[in-house]
C-alpha cells in the first residue's frame, strides 16, 4: 500500500506539487477578504476585556495573540505579503541575473571581467546583516528585502546563466547567424535567450523561497514593517510576547508552516524543472 502511494507521489512529480502549493496560496491571497474571519489588525474584545491569548474557537479559529488579534486572519492575510515579496524578489533576481549572464557571457572581454568582479563584491557582503543595515537605514519596509536580494543575490543566477551562454555561444548556429549578418542584439534575443529562460525560471523559483525566508528573518528581528501583516511579523510578535514560555504553539507554528510550504514549493518546482532541463542518467 505504501509502495503504491509512493509511486503515485513520484509519478506526480515534484513540480506538480510545488505548483499546487503556489496556486493554493495565490487563491488564499486573492480571496483573503472572504476567507479571513476578522480584520487581522483589529484588537478584539470579549466580554471580560481584552481578548488576549484565547484558545482556538469558532470565532477565532486559531485563537488570539497577546494583543487580542485574530491569529487565523493574520495567517490568511500574511499570504499576500509573502507572495508580493516572493514574486518581486524572484523577478528581480531572474531579470538581473539573466541580463547580466547574457551580457557577460556573450560579449566577454572586459565587460565580462567587470561583471564578474562585481559579482565577487556582491558575494563578499554578508547577506542578512546587509539586509538588516539596509532596513535600518531605509526604514522598515518589505521592499528593502527585495532590493537587498536584487543587489546581492544576482550573482548566483548570473554565473550559471553566463556559463550556459558561453557554451551556447560556441555552437554552430550562432556562428552561422553571425556570418549571415545578424546583429548581436538579435542573436542574443532570438537565439540564446530562449535557451536561457528555463534557467532564469529555475532561479526565479528558488529566489521566491529566499525572499520569503529573508523577509521573515528581517521581520523577526524587528526591522520589518509593523503595519503590514506578514508571517515573519507574526513570529516576531509571538516571540516578543513570550508565546514560547506560554507554550502557545497555535500561534507560532502555523505561520512557520506556511513559510515552509511556500519555500518548499519553490524547491519542488525547481527540482521538477531540473529533471526536465538536465535529465540525469538513470542507471
Amino acid at each position: 500500500m505504501i509502495r503504491e502511494l509512493y509511486k503515485i507521489f513520484k509519478e506526480n512529480n515534484y513540480a506538480t506539487v510545488g505548483v499546487g502549493i503556489y496556486i493554493f496560496f495565490i487563491l488564499i491571497a486573492i480571496f483573503a477578504d472572504i476567507i479571513a474571519t476578522n480584520d487581522p489588525l483589529r484588537i478584539n474584545f470579549s466580554s471580560s476585556g481584552l481578548a488576549r491569548n484565547l484558545p482556538p474557537s469558532w470565532e477565532y479559529l486559531l485563537g488570539t495573540t497577546s494583543n487580542g488579534r485574530d491569529i487565523f486572519s493574520q495567517l490568511i492575510y500574511g499570504s499576500r505579503n509573502a507572495l508580493a515579496v516572493g514574486l518581486s524578489a524572484a523577478l528581480a533576481v531572474a531579470i538581473l541575473g539573466t541580463i547580466v549572464g547574457l551580457i557577460s557571457g556573450f560579449y566577454g572581454g572586459w565587460i565580462d571581467n567587470l561583471i564578474m568582479r562585481l559579482a565577487d563584491i556582491a558575494l563578499g557582503l554578508p547577506f542578512l546583516p546587509f539586509v538588516i543595515v539596509l532596513a535600518a537605514f531605509l526604514g522598515p519596509s518589505s521592499w528593502n528585502v527585495v532590493i537587498a536580494i536584487g543587489l546581492l543575490l544576482w550573482p548566483n543566477a548570473g554565473r550559471i546563466i553566463r556559463s550556459q551562454v558561453l557554451t551556447l555561444r560556441e555552437r554552430g548556429y550562432i556562428e552561422s547567424a553571425k556570418v549571415s549578418g545578424c546583429s548581436n542584439f538579435r542573436i542574443i534575443f532570438m537565439h540564446i535567450a530562449p535557451n536561457i529562460l528555463p534557467l532564469s525560471f529555475l532561479y526565479g523559483s528558488i529566489a521566491i523561497g529566499w525572499a520569503i525566508l529573508t523577509e521573515a528573518s528581517v521581520s523577526f528581528l524587528g526591522f520589518g514593517p509593523s503595519d503590514v501583516i506578514s508571517w515573519g511579523y507574526m513570529l516576531q510578535d509571538a516571540y516578543s510576547s513570550q508565546a514560547l514560555s506560554l507554550k502557545a504553539y497555535i500561534w507560532f507554528i502555523p505561520p512557520g508552516l506556511c513559510i515552509v510550504l511556500m519555500v518548499v514549493a519553490g524547491f519542488f518546482i525547481s527540482r521538477g524543472y531540473e529533471e526536465i532541463l538536465f535529465p540525469k542518467i538513470k542507471k
Partner: protein, 328 residues
C-alpha cells in the same frame, strides 16, 4: 609543479575585494539617507554639542580625509567607542567573537558529518521508498526559517520539558571569568546544545543534497565502472573512490558555509539570546549605535571574504587537476 602564483594572486584579489567592500561600507554608513550617524548628529543637540560631535567623528574633514582615516583605523582595529556602552567597539567584538565562532563551527561540523553520511547513504538507496520519503523531508528542513525551528525547540525542550536552558551562554548570575574558562566549562556547552542542534538541523540539508547528487554523478563515472571490473570490494569503490571524488565540492561548501553561517547566525543568536557577533549587530542597529554597527558589520564581512578565499584555496589543494599542471 605546485602553483604558488595562483595562491598569491588569489590572496591579492581577496585584499582587493576587502578594500572595495570596506569602501562600500564606508559610504553606506555615512551617506545613506537615514544613516544613524546623521540621525544621531541631527537630534536635538545644542550647536556646541553638534560641533563637538562633528569634530569627534571627523565630519568636518573632507570626505577623502575621512575615508583615509577610516581605512587606517580599520586596519588598526580601532572602530571607535560604542554609543551605548562607551566601550571600545573592538573590545565588544572580541568578546562576542568566540561565541559566534564556536556556535558556527559546532553546528557546521555536526551538520556536515551528518549530511555527508546521510547524503552518501541516500545515493546508495536511489529509487527506493527511503529516498522518496527522505528527500522531501530534507527539503522541508531547508525551507524552514531557522529561528522558527529555534522557537519550536525552545518552546518544547526548554519551556515545556525543561531539559535545556532557554538561552544565553550561562544561567542568570553566572559570569565567566575569562574566555578560556568559558570555553572549557561544561556549563557553556550545555547552553550550546540546543542552538547548535537547531542550526545543524537547518544546515545539514545542503551537504546532504550536495553529497547525494555528487555521489550519483560520480558513481556513473568510468573509473567507478573500471573499479568494479578490477574486482575491488563495494566498500572500497564507494568510499575510497566515489566518496573521495564526491567530497571535493562538499569541502568547498563547508568553508563557504562558515562565512555564510556567520552572517546567517543572526537569527539563531537572537532566538537563543546567544551573545555572538550577529546579535551584537542587531542590537547596535536597533539602538542606532553606529560605531558598533559599523564595526560588527565590517568584521562579519571580513570573515565572509576570508572564508571565500579559503574555500578557493581548498579546492586548489584538494583537486589535483587544479593544482598540478598537465605535462607533455
Amino acid at each position: 609543479m605546485f602553483d604558488f602564483w595562483s595562491i598569491i594572486r588569489r590572496f591579492l584579489y581577496m585584499i582587493f575585494v576587502l578594500w572595495v567592500v570596506a569602501t562600500i561600507i564606508f559610504f553606506m554608513f555615512r551617506l545613506m539617507p537615514g544613516s544613524p550617524l546623521t540621525a544621531f548628529i541631527g537630534t536635538t543637540f545644542t550647536d556646541e554639542q553638534h560641533d563637538l560631535l562633528v569634530k569627534r567623528f571627523g565630519l568636518d574633514k573632507s570626505l577623502f580625509e575621512q575615508y583615509t582615516l577610516f581605512l587606517l583605523n580599520t586596519l588598526k582595529g580601532d572602530f571607535g567607542l560604542s554609543f551605548t556602552y562607551n566601550k571600545p567597539v573592538i573590545d565588544m567584538i572580541v568578546e562576542a567573537l568566540p561565541n559566534s565562532i564556536i556556535l558556527t563551527l559546532f553546528s557546521l561540523i555536526i551538520a556536515y558529518i551528518f549530511g555527508v553520511i546521510a547524503g552518501a547513504y541516500l545515493a546508495w538507496k536511489r529509487d527506493t521508498l527511503i529516498e522518496g520519503v527522505s528527500i522531501p523531508i530534507v527539503l522541508t528542513t531547508r525551507s524552514a526559517p531557522e529561528f522558527w525551528l529555534g522557537m519550536i525547540a525552545l518552546a518544547f525542550f526548554s519551556f515545556q520539558l525543561d531539559i535545556f536552558p532557554s538561552g544565553g551562554t550561562s544561567a542568570a548570575g553566572v559570569i565567566y571569568e575569562t574566555t578560556l574558562s568559558k570555553l572549557t566549562s561544561l556549563h557553556f556547552y550545555y547552553h550550546l546544545i540546543l542552538p547548535s542542534l537547531v542550526l545543524a538541523l537547518y544546515l545539514q540539508g545542503l551537504p546532504l543534497l550536495l553529497m547525494r547528487s555528487n555521489m550519483l554523478e560520480v558513481m556513473q563515472e568510468d573509473f567507478v565502472t573500471m573499479s568494479k571490473m578490477k574486482g575491488l570490494s563495494s566498500w572500497r569503490i564507494v568510499i575510497y573512490h566515489a566518496a573521495r571524488n564526491a567530497l571535493l565540492p562538499v569541502a568547498t561548501a563547508f568553508t563557504l558555509g562558515v562565512g555564510f553561517a556567520f552572517g546567517g547566525n543572526v537569527v539563531i543568536e537572537t532566538v537563543f539570546s546567544w551573545p555572538g557577533l550577529g546579535r551584537l549587530l542587531v542590537f547596535a542597529v536597533s539602538s542606532s549605535d553606529y560605531p558598533l554597527a559599523q564595526g560588527a558589520f565590517i568584521f562579519l564581512t571580513a570573515i565572509l571574504i576570508l572564508m571565500n578565499f579559503l574555500a578557493d584555496l581548498m579546492y586548489l589543494f584538494l583537486d589535483p587537476r587544479v593544482s598540478y599542471k598537465t605535462k607533455n
